[in-house]
């Protein structure tokens, strides 16, 4: 039997194994986790002819540099990603969203995500990773999931299994569109804020700060002052919730968020805008727009149809 593996020459900034996420453990403090940008995660696995919940390697900003040892294998990268393969001292350039054949001793260098945050590496096979509570998604806070709950580390070996025969090219043309307007639905504590504060909230741009990660996005902009109470009795959160801290700054909860929180919730990002929201890098500006539940549901249906169309167009 052949042994196939990657050796991590450079781990990248925040490289973790992820799948569809971990359901049904919020009540003991374990967040959903899973791939941040679900559409790009699905595309990666579909191009690899994998099951939709197969583990992928997610990276942020700068990705990993991996040396490959083993039989020829198909791989693909999704997102807006700059990467190359170094083969016998030659640099080879490739595009995202197509299967590429990796040969023994090749070096895959994922240089950066372009004006975005997350990208995905999928293989025609399976990364050999640990599962915890039915998911391999890495949660670095609770130290659970693949890689003992840690980010990728320099020098480590990633074993691969179930290597498939070389896959068809499976290419799609897909451009990751950017958004600046984030659509939200009113939260349960909307009335904790004065009319003026609400006008400031919807009328101004907010900066995405560097204090943003898989847990949440911290925003800076006009202070949103509170007329009732800056704290509430702690209660459940979901991804996309926008809390206003005691300092008057909004924080948006993302996939690794704390499961309960004690700040008032001014709104919740609609499901259809989540994949694009997480891809907006620090330093960018965003603006909020309020819509109602019915419209949010319709927009999500359209977003889902678009994803399914992309999947069926993979050739």
């Amino acid at each position: 039997m052949n042994k196939n593996y990657f050796e991590v020459l450079r781990p990248g900034i925040n490289s973790t194994f992820q799948d569809n996420g971990r359901n049904n453990f919020y009540h003991i403090g374990i967040p959903f986790s899973g791939a941040m940008d679900n559409r790009n995660f699905l595309l990666a696995n579909t191009i690899s002819n994998n099951g939709i919940n197969n583990p992928v390697l997610e990276f942020a900003y700068q990705g990993p540099k991996l040396k490959y040892i083993g039989e020829n294998i198909s791989i693909n990268v999704t997102g807006d990603v700059n990467f190359k393969i170094i083969r016998k001292n030659k640099n080879l350039e490739f595009s995202c969203y197509e299967n590429i054949i990796l040969e023994n001793n090749d070096c895959l260098d994922i240089l950066s995500t372009n004006r975005s945050v997350y990208g995905y590496l999928s293989i025609g096979g399976t990364f050999e990773v640990d599962y915890y509570l039915n998911s391999c998604s890495t949660n670095t806070k609770a130290k659970i999931g693949a890689n003992s709950g840690e980010k990728l580390e320099k020098g480590q070996i990633i074993h691969l299994k179930n290597i498939k025969k070389i896959l068809p090219k499976n290419k799609i043309e897909y451009l990751n569109s950017k958004i600046e307007n984030i659509r939200i639905i009113k939260g349960p504590h909307f009335d904790y804020f004065s009319k003026d504060a609400i006008d400031l909230f919807f009328g101004n741009e907010f900066n995405i700060t560097k204090l943003s990660d898989r847990m949440g996005i911290r925003l800076k902009g006009p202070k949103i002052s509170n007329i009732k109470n800056t704290n509430i009795k702690s209660e459940g959160l979901v991804k996309g919730v926008i809390q206003i801290t005691a300092d008057g700054d909004p924080i948006i909860m993302l996939s690794d968020h704390g499961t309960i929180g004690g700040y008032p919730k001014i709104g919740v990002v609609i499901s259809a805008d989540y994949d694009k929201l997480v891809q907006i890098p620090p330093g960018s500006k965003i603006k909020f727009k309020e819509i109602n539940l019915k419209d949010a549901e319709t927009i999500f249906k359209l977003y889902e149809m678009e994803t399914q169309n992309l999947i069926s167009n993979i050739k």
């Binding site: 003991i28 915890y132 806070k141 639905i185 209660e235 539940l293 949010a296």
Partner: protein, 224 residues
């Protein structure tokens, strides 16, 4: 009973059990939580009980707010889960190096150290909810004489297994984490065991906790 169900975004239900925080209301929340878990309604991805709310998140591809709301409203509470709550005993070492805020508390509460501990250890505590970080239990109620505000500036790192108190509640930091609660001791028991693949958390909502003091020597023994 649920007083009102509204939507939290487009993929969650926000069930309100009324404004008060007390055991009776919380037991009701937890009873709903457990019965909902048994119900297997299509599309539910998470249910989070807290003091007086229940947040139910769902997969928008499989169900919708209107559909799930109707199911929750018509939920029959088949089983009463309030009868089988565990009593869990947790040892606490109050050595100086672990009781990071005991000096502050003496000043703040105007009671001496011995009395603070005597009062703290004399009561049983009820687990309202677990979460924020994995397995962290929110316990209450503290004796009124021990009601203390959070630290003005939260600690960047509270050591794992620290016991903290604030207002009517106490908790156990299951992982090293930022936090602003007043730290009065440390337990050698891991409340959340991330090596265990089933029931990794020792304390569940609805359980009763009694703390008991141990010496530094006993603490070190338990750690071996």
């Amino acid at each position: 009973m649920i007083k009102n169900i509204s939507n939290l975004g487009d993929a969650a239900l926000y069930c309100d059990f009324g404004p008060e925080v007390n055991k009776e209301i919380n037991r009701n929340v937890i009873n709903y939580f457990n019965n909902l878990r048994d119900s297997n309604f299509l599309g539910i991805t998470n249910i989070t009980p807290s003091y007086n709310k229940l947040v139910i998140s769902f997969d928008l591809k499989l169900t919708s707010f209107a559909k799930l709301k109707k199911q929750v409203e018509n939920l029959e509470l088949k089983k009463n889960y309030n009868s089988k709550n565990n009593l869990i005993k947790i040892p606490v070492c109050c050595a100086e190096e672990f009781a990071l805020d005991i000096k502050r508390l003496q000043k703040l509460l105007k009671i001496n150290e011995a009395k603070i501990y005597e009062t703290f250890f004399s009561k049983n505590y009820y687990c309202y909810m677990t979460g924020f970080i994995a397995g962290m239990p929110f316990l209450g109620d503290m004796d009124k004489s021990l009601f203390a505000k959070r630290l003005e500036t939260p600690r960047v790192k509270v050591p794992k297994n620290s016991i903290g108190i604030t207002e009517q509640f106490c908790n156990i930091y299951t992982f090293e984490s930022p936090g602003g609660w007043n730290i009065i001791g440390k337990t050698p028991v891991d409340i959340f065991d991330n090596k265990k693949n089933t029931e990794p958390n020792l304390i569940n909502p609805g359980d009763t906790i009694s703390f008991y003091p141990i010496s530094k020597l006993e603490y070190e023994k338990k750690y071996e």
